[in-house]
Symmetry: C2
């Protein structure tokens, strides 16, 4: 592929002139401008962003690490982040960590090697690895250290809201199906739910799912689901897991919401598609994504911002799996 020297030679000008033209920095006569442009098109020249980045020390690239891009929640985040990054002239370097600390840590090295301008990491699983990083980092849903900002929904409060709603709908024998213990977000939801239950002196039965979003979620958790006993309300740690629970209950002939009421968490697109449609707790995913990338870009631009937790509001979305 042609380089700047080829263009300069072909256009009969100096290499610096081409550079000035490309970056619109400094004067270039109109006459020379058209000549250069013509050659650029003829040779299909694209300035080498790598060489440019190496010099300017600004790759205009941000690393996005998510557990897995096929997880509906994270890919929606990614979509929002991409959109905003694109507007700001940044490109996305995508990494799936698979919730695997080694993979995350390896990717972290790769991102540093590629001199990305900033990093967004969702649900980090190897916090130690971030101790001596000199690239701006925003952590999503996970507390890495007191030097790193974490953005998250207010999961704790979301859990509380879920309990209050179920309680108001008359549930007094509830089950909570919680996610894998290693996820801060779902742990917070549980704490909120359980704390709220304690306030009402209600005891909650717990069932734990081993897996996060996966296509095979239902089959893999069928055993724990069999432990569902007598109850009138179930709070599930996310919408897709809730959908599998509904599926399971229907097969057993349980009527929803008449016999058992159900709530999910996330307000993902499947809530509306289910029958009955799923009452859930909304995570403001659009705002979450936008805020995360905005913070990162502020960090990149050296604006000083408070290093603290940014919690975004969760709220109830009432649908058909709960009464009243």
């Amino acid at each position: 592929m042609a380089n700047i020297r080829d263009i300069a030679k072909e256009a009969g000008v100096g290499i610096a002139t081409v550079s000035r033209y490309l970056n619109d920095t400094g004067y270039v006569s109109d006459e020379v401008k058209v000549k250069i442009q013509k050659v650029i098109e003829e040779l299909n020249y694209k300035p080498n962003a790598l060489a440019r980045a190496i010099f300017t020390k600004n790759s205009k690239t941000i690393g996005l690490m998510v557990p897995n891009i096929s997880n509906p929640f994270f890919n929606q985040m990614a979509s929002v982040i991409e959109e905003y990054a694109n507007e700001m002239g940044y490109n996305i370097f995508l990494c799936n960590t698979d919730d695997n600390p080694e993979k995350e840590s390896k990717y972290l090295d790769v991102l540093q090697s590629h001199r990305v301008a900033g990093i967004i990491v969702a649900r980090s699983k190897c916090k130690e690895a971030y101790s001596n990083i000199d690239i701006p980092v925003i952590s999503f849903e996970s507390h890495i250290s007191d030097k790193i900002i974490t953005v998250s929904s207010d999961n704790y409060n979301g859990g509380k809201i879920a309990f209050d709603h179920l309680y108001q709908c008359g549930c007094r024998k509830m089950i909570h199906i919680k996610g894998p213990t290693c996820f801060e977000a779902t742990e917070d939801r549980s704490r909120g739910f359980l704390d709220a239950a304690k306030d009402k002196n209600l005891k909650i039965d717990l069932i734990e799912f081993e897996t996060d979003f996966q296509v095979k979620m239902l089959e893999e958790n069928i055993e724990s689901l069999n432990k569902i006993g007598e109850c009138d309300g179930i709070f599930v740690f996310n919408d897709i897991a809730a959908a599998t629970v509904i599926k399971f209950l229907r097969k057993k002939g349980v009527r929803i919401p008449e016999e058992v009421q159900i709530m999910g968490f996330d307000n993902s697109f499947i809530c509306e598609l289910l029958h009955p449609s799923l009452t859930t707790i909304n995570q403001p995913i659009q705002a979450l994504g936008k805020y995360t990338i905005e913070l990162l870009i502020k960090l990149i631009n050296d604006e000083d911002i408070e290093i603290e937790d940014y919690l975004m509001e969760t709220k109830l979305i009432k649908r058909e799996t709960t009464l009243s």
Copy 2:
């Protein structure tokens, strides 16, 4: 951030020695090795991948362009591609085209500027832009030119299978809800379905959805759905659209599959979660993703492969929205 010269100086060796150590190319005494490694860790040195790429002319990066990463079908593809790319030492540069030719074309320039080793583009919308690209390209679901390989499911045959199944299940008054005309994949499905219908001398009513996957799909298409008249079978261009159709029909009190049978396309994870669960046509997404990236890497490695269409088999997944 430290560079190779810092390491060399601090370790009291030559710069080339450090490079040799880093790349394990040529001899370095054990003694020197440990000294270098120590300094590398002390200074948290990460070799600059940009500088390296500029020299080796191999960025070890591939550009992935998809309509939108929040589309379940494409993010599953992306997940498979990431996995395999990662195994082969490649990293992913993510681009959402939003089915917007300008955005795609702009991203294409960016990818060229970044000297990606190869490009995977799904459902391309600006075929002209690829005419003078000297980076290996694999096109997914869209024919760009006779110089570019396209990988795709056998959508045409999938459409045929869908018809045959509905016909076998006794449907004689069918509706086909087709996707936006600009998508080759959904057009092929339609053609297959319609051709098969013609073989049986059946006339099919057509309804067109304007939008592809979107959270608001149901509301946006409610008007066209109102046109659903008397029928006993519906073939919808993908699963999520099918889910919205089911939702709509339920609200109108139509019983599925007793009164109307329904089929989707994709075999996405929501099929199982719906009630009744959705009969659909499977796209071998895992194989599709794997094959696409394998072909691309072969192209990158200059292995010569046939420039032709690679069609992957689609098949019926029978569930509860169809009888028999």
